[in-house]
Every structure is written in C-alpha cells, then in structure tokens.
Amino acid sequence: MEPESLQGRLRSKILEMNFKAKSGHIGSALSCLDIMLSVLPDRAEGDTFILSKGHATSALYAVLNALGEIPDEVIDSFYKNGSVLTGHPAPLKFPSIPFATGSLGHGFPIGNGIALADKIKGSTAMTCVLMSDGETNEGTTWEAAHFAVANKLDNLLVIIDKNRWQGFGSIGEVLGDTAAPQLWAALGFEVNEVDGHDIAAIRTLKNELRQRKNGIPKVLIANTVKGKGVDFMEDTLDWHYLSMNDGHYEKAVASVQTNYKSSQP
C-alpha cells in the first residue's frame, strides 16, 4: 500500500479512536500524522523515534497499528480503563515507543543521550525527535540544543511540527516564534524547512540529512496545518481541546473522505 493512500485511512482511524474515547488533541494528531508516516515506516536498524509532543499520541498509535505493532483489539482500548493506550504514551509498552512523554520538553534531551550513546558505540543509527512548535518554549529545548551542537550530534534529527498554534493562542501571540529558523541556525543547527504534509519530501530530506556526517545536528521545520484533512478543524485552536459529538464525527469523516479520495475503496 502506498503511504499516500494511508494518509486518509489513518486520519479516519484517528477520528474513530478519538470519537469513541471522547478525547481531544485531535488537531495536534492530524497535524503531525504525515511526519510520522514519513519517518516511522522508514527506519533503519537501530533508528529511534521519540514523540516528544506526547499529546498527539493517537496518531502514533494509528501508525503503529498500521505497521502491525499495536493490534486492533488494543487500539480499541484507547482511553479505556485497564488499557495501555493512554492519552499520552505509557512507559515500557511498545518497542517503537521507547519513552513515555506527555510533559513537554523531555524528548529532545533524551534524543541527545541516545544519539551520543550511538556515536560512542560507532553506530550509524539515527535518532529522530518530533516536537511541537509550542513545545520549543520549554527551557530544555535550549539546554538540549546547545548540548547537541557542542557534542556534534549529526546523527540527531529534530523535527518541529510547526502548526503555529499552542495551548492558549498562536505562537506569535504567546512567546513569539521559538521555532523560527534563524534562532535554530544561530544555535548552530543545520536548518531545513519542508511541507509537513508532503511525505515524499520529508522522507527524501530526512534520508539526505542522515548521510550528512558533518558534525552538525539537524532540525527539520515542518510547516503544517493543525487539524489537517478535516476542513472545520483546520488551523483553529479549538480542536486542540474539543472532543467530537455525533455531528462533528460524521462531518469530520466526510471531510477526510473528500480530501483523501485515494483512500476510498
């Protein structure tokens, strides 16, 4: 199955999971689904992916479900009592979820440690950390960025899901753009920007960056649309939080079907 055809199917899955769970963070999951679809199925031996923006975990679960790592019956337990699928990833449950996240600003320092360990061991593995743009407000981002540069972690790729919305406003309204390319360039990162919904482009860029052993850590600023694929959820703060009623769900599914026709049988 071509990855592109997955984009609609997994969006429908994310909607179904969150509708049944009456849960929120839907816009965040739809925002970074395509980034995960670019990275997760395309890992080489030893590569690590860390979802630092843990609130988008329904997208991660959906991708791992499609990859066969999380069975359907487990997916059905999302948010339920006695489940391992919490609203932010739980620790020590799945090999592809090496770290429980949910409090922002944890994934990048962890990624530093994995990348440094791989360097010491002479491994060619790549560590990829997916952050949100709001998350880059966290002070650990700046501690971790200096560490990555000082330790020449060219095997580390930070991907920022830049949908321009954070907890209670747009990134411009809150602290300013802490995911601005010039900030990261000034820190000493190799900065690339990409359309965060273009799977082929992200994957190509990622694989180019992996080959660039120049002693410089990489950041990929993925410009995205919050709520991507569901017209009424796109580019709004509301769908960071809201959960769907029956009407929302019906409308959302129809919107995905229209926007991703290739996913229809």
């Binding site: 620790p91 020590l92 090496p98 770290f99 429980a100 996240t101 949910g102 409090s103 600003g105 944890h106 990048f108 320092p109 962890i110 990624g111 530093n112 440690g113 994995i114 990348a115 440094l116 360990a117 791989d118 010491i120 061991k121 002070g139 650990t140 501690e143 971790a144 200096h146 560490f147 000082a150 330790n151």
Partner: protein
C-alpha cells in the same frame, strides 16, 4: 566523601565498561582523574541539569550505567520531572550523585542546601536513595547501586571511617548492647555527633544505635524493631526535614508493626528557624543536632531514670 567517590569511580571504570560519568559543570580540582581515566565516557553537560538527566536517560536506554554528578540541590530539585518521567518510569540505571547533602555547604546559603532531597526522591518509582554515614558504607552503597541497575540517588557528605564497634548490616550498620534503654536511629554523617554525645554522656552502654543508609525505608529491619519493642524509647536523628524523612519512616513502620513507643523525639532539620545563616556546624547547633544539643535531648530520656 567526594574524593572517596571519585576514587571509587576511577577504580570501577574498567570493570564497568558501560559506565558513563556526566557532570553538571562541577568537579574542578576533584574530578580531573575521572576525566583522564574515562575519556569519551566523561561528559560535561554544562550548566543545564534538565538536559543532563534527560540525556542520561537516553544513554541508559542504550545500555549505559550513567552517573550524573552535581551538588545535591542542583541535581535533585531542578530536574525532578526528568528523574521521575524519563529515568524512574523507565527503570533506567541513572545514578545521581549529589555532593553536600543537608547543610553541608553552610554559609554558601540556602540555595546550596539539600534538606528535602530524600523526601522528594524516595517516593519515586524504582528509586533508591543512598545516604552513606561513613566512608566504609559508601562502598557498600555504591556496589549495590551499580549492580541494582535501577534509578538511584547518592547523597554525599563529610564522612569518617566507621567505628570498629559497629557491625555492617543490609540497611547500614548497628551497635547494640545487652541492656539497652534507648533506641537511636540515625542517618548520614550526623551520626558522628550522636556518637560523640553518647560517649561524652556515658550512655554507650545503654543505647542501641542504628544507622540507616538507604531510603525509602519500606520495612523496619527486624533488629531495629526488636530494640524498639524492648526499649520503647526512640530517638531519630537526620539532617533532613521531618516530612518524608527517616524519623517519619521509622515511626510509621513502628506503628504498622504495633510497637508501642512510650517516648519519641525526632531531631531533624527545621530549615532556618531564626532566619540566620552560617556554616554547617552553626546550622547543626540551631537545629539541636550539634553535640551539645544532642546531649540535651539525650538527657530527656534519662532524667527520670
């Protein structure tokens, strides 16, 4: 203890080729030996403790045993969430080594003291806190820390050799007598003040002394329970606040075992009750854990005897 600590690490560096030592930009004139010995397994993470602990979790995930060194307050409080979420939740062998527990850094001020470190850390899942009282039990603590391969905190202070009268135990050490009238349970090098006070006051022969060098204390050791059941009088001494500390743990465990204690006094840190600061000895005096203060407390147990 710091020199003893760095010598220990240097000595096990070959045995544990998965040992990584990370410092939060501290160790001038103390850790140069480790930097030379460990090569690329010695990492200065800079003045950035949160990244240091998260990074350590990442290295531990890749199979390393990671020691993170700083002064106690900096490596406990600033990065607590990294310890809980990144290290403890994932059962990773990250060992934080904090130099100068309690009032150790004295006149440098309250920012440099660690009076609540054990309360803060010992409730975390999979965490074990080690509080050596003597240079001798430091080795035992560190041996266990490395072999256990789970999250740990090592609180370093100023250590003296263990007196010959003490017997090492699984929880620390003890010195018991035949006709004890008082059970003393202490933690950290403050035990040296307790021992001096007991000796000065001629109370060695009537006192059972237990040193507990690890937290949390989830079960009261049988010998302590036996002593307490017999003496029914308890003194706990710790350079730590009462909440979440040794005394609270011993009292809780004693109550759970149904041991009737007739008199209990806790000597512990009360912060800065007079609003004034000084060296470690000054703070010991203010909190009644200097030798004279401990003598006064000991007399309250024996004044009617």
């Amino acid at each position: 203890m710091r020199k003893h600590f760095s010598n220990y690490i240097e000595n096990v560096a070959d045995k544990y080729d998965d040992l990584v030592f990370v410092t939060g930009d501290l160790g001038y004139n103390a850790l140069e030996n480790l930097r030379d010995k460990l090569g690329n397994r010695f990492i200065n993470a800079g003045v950035a403790e949160q990244n240091m602990i998260g990074m350590a979790a990442g290295m531990a995930y890749r199979g390393y045993r990671v020691v993170c060194y700083s002064i106690a307050p900096f490596v406990v409080y600033r990065c607590l969430e990294q310890m809980r979420n990144d290290v403890c939740f994932h059962e990773l062998p990250v060992f934080i080594a904090g130099n100068g527990g309690g009032y150790h850094y004295g006149a440098l001020g309250s920012s440099h003291h660690a009076l609540e470190d054990l309360a803060v850390l010992s409730g975390l899942p999979n965490m074990r806190c080690y509080v050596p009282a003597f240079l001798d039990d430091m080795n035992t603590c560190m041996d266990e820390m490395f072999e256990r391969r789970l999250p740990a905190y090592l609180r370093l202070g100023v250590g003296k050799p263990m007196p010959a009268s003490f017997t090492p135990t699984a929880y620390g050490a003890r010195r018991t007598v035949a006709n004890a009238q008082l059970t003393v349970v202490a933690q950290s090098p403050i035990i040296n003040n307790v021992l001096q006070a007991l000796q000065n006051d001629g109370l060695d022969g009537v006192t059972d002394v237990f040193v507990v060098n690890r937290m949390p204390l989830t079960d009261l050791p049988a010998d302590i329970a036996h002593s307490l059941s017999t003496c029914k009088r308890l003194l706990t001494v710790e350079e730590h606040v009462a909440v979440g500390g040794l005394g609270a743990s011993v009292a809780y465990q004693a109550a759970a075992l149904g041991i009737a204690v007739e008199k209990y006094v806790s000597v512990c840190a009360h912060g800065y009750p007079n609003g004034l600061y000084g060296n470690q000895s000054y703070h010991h005096e203010v909190n009644g854990m200097d030798i004279a203060g401990l003598s006064r407390t000991l007399h309250t147990f024996f004044e009617n005897a």
